[in-house]
């Protein structure tokens, strides 16, 4: 990976109870969370979590309630003290640093957005947005200026003098977001930040977040129990169950190769046609030929016979997709004694883009007989999608039902 490591957590544990050492050694010797609870009456919040978050990515930690995801995010800024393990932030171990340094990091580097918004009811929207700056002792004018800028970023500058109680849920969370943005942190921790909002507003906030992220790349750790949300905004996803991190990967990775039944169950009911793109399901199983002197109809037919196919995908010298020649057309050309491939005879089936979703591809698959060609943003051939492949993807996803 050429990406820079921003946060790296290693063998992180959190055990709630009065004698965590005992529970820790039980866990390390392979005992389960349930056994520990039964034997020692101590509950395990996070059990041996390790993963890396890269700079500038949106990393979603997903799990059902009680899976330890909210505990995990609080271990990152040590709102909860870890029992064992390390949290490396730019090479510094948050778990072991002094209180002074931790305070400094919370004030400048790592800010948090809360599910319950956690706005101060006795402060105006502007004062709330400036809260982090006030805590870190910024001058009054600077505070005001940066808070106003942050509020403008979330479209709430007109509400600066209102109180949180006057705002709707979505607006409150915008203030929560502005409060974190005003500090201009490198890392944004978002604990179920949009979960309390109704679905329409949630979508709007996700777009807002992506927009802000596009302008100014931050490392965002996003906690969610909502798979659609994770798929929509996450560059990578970690799935947690019972305090353990079960799988880490891109949304496509996890959807296509779920690590276990728990992960698979998560995806039950998810419509793969929305998430998977042409790139994910295309394959290079079909035969191609480059349009250049020396490659005639006979060469093409020989290849088709060898691979038992009925059509060949014609590319130019730079592998840019041009069109399709079927076996019938090629045979006709041979009968007429043509020695070169003729661009005029190509059947130009419109290709799909790599970024098209399965839903976009479906109409093309239905209207044509041949597998749909897929090209990248430059028009370069990237493979094809056959009906069979399409159905197989749908089936594999539904098999756990």
């Amino acid at each position: 990976m050429d990406k820079k490591e921003k946060i790296k957590i290693e063998d992180l544990y959190k055990i709630y109870g009065n004698k965590p050492k005992q529970a820790l050694s039980m866990l390390k010797s392979g005992k389960s969370k349930e056994e520990v609870l039964e034997k020692t009456r101590m509950s395990v919040g996070v059990n041996n979590a390790s993963f890396t978050i890269y700079e500038g990515e949106i990393f979603v930690i997903m799990g059902l309630s009680g899976s330890g995801k909210s505990t995990l995010v609080r271990l990152l800024n040590r709102l909860i003290e870890p029992t064992a393990g390390s949290v490396w932030l730019d090479g510094e171990d948050v778990a072991k640093m002094s209180t002074e340094r931790l305070t400094e990091i919370r004030r400048r580097k790592m800010c948090m957005v809360f599910q319950s918004f956690a706005l101060m009811p006795h402060m105006t929207v502007l004062e709330n947005a400036a809260f982090g700056l006030e805590i870190s002792g910024a001058k009054k004018e600077e505070r005001r200026e940066r808070a106003v800028t942050a509020l403008a970023q979330v479209g709430l500058e007109a509400w600066a003098d209102s109180y949180p109680d006057d705002l709707s849920g979505g607006m409150k969370q915008r203030v929560g977001l502005a409060r974190a943005l005003a500090v201009n942190p490198e890392v944004l921790l978002m604990d179920e930040a949009f979960s309390a909002l109704d679905p329409l507003i949630r979508c709007e906030m996700q777009d807002e977040l992506l927009k802000i992220q596009k302008k100014n790349k931050r490392t965002i750790v996003f906690i969610s129990h909502d798979l659609d949300e994770a798929m929509r905004i996450g560059d990578r996803i970690a799935i947690m169950e019972g305090g353990r991190v079960v799988q880490v990967g891109t949304p496509e990775d996890i959807l296509l190769n779920p690590a276990d039944d728990y992960v698979r169950a998560f995806f039950r009911g998810v419509d793969p046609t929305i998430i998977l793109t042409a790139k994910d399901i295309s394959q290079k199983n079909d035969v191609t030929i480059k349009m250049r002197p020396g490659n005639g109809p006979r060469t093409a037919v020989q290849r088709l016979i060898k691979y038992e196919k009925d059509q060949i995908y014609v590319l130019d010298e730079d592998e840019v997709y041009l069109g399709i020649l079927t076996r019938d057309v090629l045979d006709e050309m041979i009968d007429r004694g043509e020695r070169e491939l003729d661009a005029g005879r190509l059947n130009v089936i419109e290709p799909s883009r790599e970024t098209d979703s399965m839903q976009d591809i479906l109409p093309k698959l239905i209207s044509g007989t041949a597998p749909v060609p897929v090209v990248d943003s430059e028009g370069v051939y990237a493979g094809t999608i056959s009906r069979k492949q399409f159905l197989k993807t749908l089936h594999r996803n539904g098999e756990s039902e």
Binding site: I105, R106, M112, F114, A118, G132, S136
Partner: protein
């Protein structure tokens, strides 16, 4: 003698206490006399100001406070109440009572609010302080009036000390309650932005506990007013005096006007401080 023969006093606690207090009085009376100095000084100051100023100024000031924290109705009521006390010939007693209430509430707040904050932040301290608060509120005042007089001698200052003991618990309890009722996620949010414990207290917990603290202050004021008559028993002046004298001489009229003034003054102070607790934001 059987152990369960409860007619006998097996534990002579009463004599122990008697001799203990006697020893205290014998050896440390001077110390206690010095201890009452701050109360004495502030009381004398307040009494001097209240009796030196022209009644009209005091009426105007209280009316202004009533208007500021409540409204025109209470301002009118305050004016009428104070005029009445004056016309009943109890103006000076009313001022002394006001000064006593002010002083005892001042000391209750100065000691009680920090103690309440401590109790709100620490379960252990809360557990430690609770039995004391219970004792302070439920011990009949007559029980500790005698030792107070023995140690501090009679007079208005002793009356205030007895009042402080009785009136302090509500402000401690309600301050603690207010701190405890601040939503934990607000405290967590403040901490997540790097707030120190003191910053959390100053910017989040105390402002949000303010209504509860003001309710505590209000209760403390009401309870110190209710001690006025009892304090009069040990020579404290003020509106308790006419009531006490009236009782002793079977002068029902005198006792009633004293009582009436206490009640009206209580209503005025209660409404003003209640208004303070719910100050409207701009």
């Amino acid at each position: 003698m059987s152990f369960f023969d409860f007619d006998e006093r097996i534990i002579p606690l009463d004599t122990w206490i008697q001799s203990g207090v006697d020893k205290l009085v014998e050896n440390y009376r001077d110390v206690f006399q010095i201890m009452k100095m701050p109360v004495e000084v502030s009381l004398n100051g307040v009494v001097w100001v209240l009796t030196y100023l022209h009644p009209l100024i005091i009426i105007a000031a209280l009316c202004a406070a009533a208007y500021r924290y409540s409204g025109r109705k209470l301002a009118v009521f305050t004016a009428l109440t104070l005029m009445l006390t004056g016309m009943l010939g109890l103006w000076e007693e009313t001022m002394i009572t006001l000064a006593m209430v002010f002083c005892s509430v001042l000391f209750c707040a100065v000691a009680g609010i920090p103690l309440g904050i401590l109790a709100g932040r620490s379960d252990r301290f809360e557990g430690f302080i609770r039995p004391f608060l219970d004792a302070m509120q439920t011990t009949p005042a007559f029980v500790y009036l005698v030792p107070v007089v023995m140690l501090f001698s009679i007079g208005t200052v002793s009356g205030i000390l007895a009042t402080i003991v009785f009136a302090m618990p509500p402000i401690i309890r309600l301050t603690s309650l207010g701190i405890r009722h601040v939503h934990p996620e607000l405290v967590e949010a403040a901490e997540s932005f790097g707030a120190t414990p003191f910053q959390v207290l100053r910017r989040v917990q105390i402002p949000l506990a303010m209504p509860s603290i003001m309710a505590g202050l209000n209760q403390t004021i009401m309870m110190s007013l209710s001690m006025v008559v009892i304090a009069a028993l040990i020579g404290a002046g003020g509106l308790g005096m006419p009531v006490f004298l009236g009782l002793n001489t079977l002068d029902i009229g005198l006792a009633t006007i004293g009582g009436l003034c206490i009640v009206l003054l209580a209503m005025v102070l209660d409404r003003i401080t209640q208004g303070m607790g719910t100050v409207k934001r701009k």
